[in-house]
Amino acid sequence: MTGEALALVSDVLVRATPLALTGLAVAIAFRGGVWNIGADGQFLAGATLAAWIGVMLGATHAALPLALLTGAAAGAAWAGIAGILRSRFGVLEVISTIMLNFVAAFGVSYLVRGPLQEPTHVYPQTSSIGTAAELPVLVPGTRIHAGVLIALALTIAAWWAMRHTAAGFRLRATGANPFAARSAGLVDAERVTMRAFLLSGALAGLAGAVEVCGVTYALYENLSPGYGYTAIAVALLARLNPIGTFVAAILFGALEVAASALQREAAIPSTTATVVEATVILAVITVADWRARRVERAA
C-alpha cells in the first residue's frame, strides 16, 4: 500500500472507532427500548475518568486497562442516572439524557480549567496521559491504534450475545413490547431496561476512554464533535444490527474524512457530511415506513 493510501485508511479508522463504539451503544439502547440520546455526555464522562487515571497512574503497567475500565464505568454511571430517573421517577430519558449532555460538557469545561488543568495553566486541557496509558499503535507510521480491535471485538460479542443468549432475547423482547414481555412472564422489564442503560453508557464511556488513550492523549473541551448524535445515524443505518454498526461507522468515518479532503482540495464545505448523515437517517425512516405499509396492505 502506498503511503498516501495508508494515511487515508488510518484517518478513516481513527474517525470510525468512536463512531463504532457509540453507534453500538445507541443500537443496544434502542433495541432495548431506551432512547439514549446522551451518548455524547457518556462519552465525555468516560474520557474524563480515563484522562484522570491516565495522568495519575500513567507510569504504571495497569494504567491502560484501568483507564479503559473506569472510563466504561463512568459512562455507565452517567447513563445510570437517566436509568434511575426513568425507573424510579418516571422521567423521560430523552429529556434527562439531553440535560446530562449539557452537564457533562460544562463539567469537562470546568475540570480542564480547574482541578485537572495542566500544570502551567496556559491551555484549557489536562496534562498528557503517561505512555503506559496509551493504546498501542498497530501499524507503525500511522495513527491506527488498538481501539479499532476493541471496537471490533465488542461488536462481534454484542452480535453474538444479541442472537444467541437469553439476555439478548430479553433485551429484544423488552424493546419490542415491554408490556407483552412482562405479561408473558419472560422478563423483569425494569431490570432489562436498567441494564440496557448501563451497557449502552459503558460502551459510550469506553468510546471516550479509547479516544483519550488512542488519539488525543489528553482531555479538552469539544473532544467530541457530536459523536453521540452521529452515532444515532450509524445505528439506524445499521438497522440496529451490531455488525452493521461497525460497517456503518467505517462508512461515516470515510464520509467525514472525504468531506474534510473535499473542503481542502475542492472548496466544497465539509458541513455537507452532516447533511448526508441526516439525510441517511431520514431515508432509513422513510424506507422503514414504506415497508411497514406494504406489510399492512398485504395482511
Binding site: 432512547w35 423521560l92 430523552v94 429529556i95 449539557f102 452537564v103 460544562f106 444515532i232 448523515e277 441526516a278
Partner: protein
C-alpha cells in the same frame, strides 16, 4: 453594586428572550404530544435567514424571513412525524443535524470558506417611557429590543389561549390522549401539524433574535444547543406557559451570572453555574413524583385515524 445588579438583570432578560420564544413554541408542540428536537434546526435556519435577508431588506424582513425558515424546517419535521408517523426523537435529531449542516454549507457557499466577518444590521433597544425609570428593574425590563416585548405579550396570550379556548383544550387533549380526542371529533393530525408549525415560527424568531438583536453577525452553529435548552426549560416550567417563562429566566440568569463573574474578574467556576439549571430541571422532574406532569402522549407516534 446597584449598577452591577441592573446589568445582571438586563443580561438575564436579554439571554432569556430567545430561550423564552423557543420554549413557548416547544410548549405548544409538547402539549400536543410532540417533542420537537428539531427545534434546534428551526433556530439555526432562522438565524441564517435573518442574516441573509436583513442587510438588503431591513430587520423587519429579516424577522419574517427567519420565521419562514423556521417554519419550513418544522414542516419537514411534521411531514415525517405526523404524516409518516416516524419516531419523534430520531426524526428530530436528524432534522437538527440536517439544518445545522445545511446552514453551515449555505453560509460557506455565500460568504466564503471561512466566512468573512459579517455585519448585520441590528434592532436597537426600545425604551418604554415612564416605567423604564423604575429603579433597578425598570431598565432591565423595559429598555430592551422590541422582540423582548413580543415575548412579554406572547406568554400571557398563549397561556390564555391554551386554557381558555376550545382550540387550546383540543391541543391539550391530543397531548394526553389522541385516541379519545380523535373520537370526540378533534382532527389530531391537523392540530399537531399546526402546533409544530407554531413551534417552528417561534424557533425561527428566536434565531432572528440571536442575530438581529444580539450578535449582529452569523456564526456556524450559533444556536449552540438552544433548541435542546428550550426542551429543558419546558420541563422545568412543567409544560405551563407562565412556568416556562419563569424557567427561561432561570436559564437566562445562569448565563448572565457567567458574564457578571467574568466582568468582575473573579475566577469563580462559572461552568458550574451554567450547569445548575440543567441539574435543577432534573431535580424538578424527579420530584414531581406521583403527579405525571408531562403530557401523557409525549413522544408517542400517534396511531389514531
Amino acid at each position: 453594586m446597584t449598577g452591577g445588579l441592573e446589568a445582571f438583570l438586563q443580561g438575564t432578560i436579554r439571554t432569556a428572550t430567545p430561550l423564552a420564544l423557543a420554549a413557548m413554541g416547544e410548549t405548544i408542540a409538547e402539549r400536543a404530544g410532540v417533542i420537537n428536537i428539531g427545534l434546534e434546526g428551526s433556530i439555526i435556519a432562522g438565524a441564517l435567514a435573518a442574516t441573509i435577508a436583513a442587510p438588503g431588506l431591513g430587520v423587519g424582513a429579516g424577522m419574517v424571513a427567519a420565521m419562514a425558515a423556521g417554519l419550513v424546517v418544522a414542516l419537514l419535521f411534521a411531514l415525517f412525524v405526523v404524516t409518516l408517523r416516524a419516531d419523534q426523537i430520531i426524526t428530530g435529531t436528524a432534522i437538527s443535524m440536517l439544518a445545522l449542516g445545511a446552514t453551515g454549507t449555505i453560509y460557506r457557499l455565500l460568504y466564503g470558506q471561512m466566512g468573512a466577518a459579517l455585519t448585520v444590521p441590528t434592532i436597537g433597544t426600545m425604551r418604554i417611557p415612564g416605567i423604564s425609570t423604575i429603579p433597578i428593574v425598570g431598565r432591565a425590563l423595559f429598555e430592551q429590543p422590541a422582540v423582548t416585548y413580543v415575548a412579554y405579550v406572547l406568554v400571557p396570550l398563549i397561556a390564555w389561549w391554551m386554557y381558555r379556548t376550545h382550540a387550546g383544550l383540543a391541543l391539550r387533549a391530543i397531548g394526553e390522549s389522541p385516541e379519545a380526542a380523535a373520537a370526540s371529533g378533534v382532527r389530531v393530525a391537523r392540530l399537531r401539524t399546526l402546533a409544530i408549525a407554531v413551534d417552528g415560527l417561534l424557533g425561527g424568531l428566536a434565531g432572528a433574535t440571536l442575530v438581529l438583536a444580539q450578535a449582529g453577525t452569523f456564526v456556524e452553529g450559533m444556536s449552540a444547543g438552544r433548541g435542546f435548552i428550550a426542551i429543558a426549560i419546558v420541563a422545568l416550567g412543567r409544560w405551563q406557559p407562565i412556568g416556562v417563562a419563569l424557567a427561561a429566566l432561570v436559564f437566562g440568569a445562569a448565563s448572565a451570572l457567567q458574564y457578571f463573574f467574568q466582568a468582575a474578574g473573579t475566577h469563580a467556576p462559572y461552568q458550574l453555574f451554567l450547569a445548575l439549571p440543567y441539574l435543577l430541571t432534573l431535580v424538578a422532574l424527579a420530584t414531581a413524583r406521583g403527579r405525571s406532569i408531562a403530557p401523557a402522549a409525549l413522544a408517542r407516534a400517534e396511531e389514531a385515524e
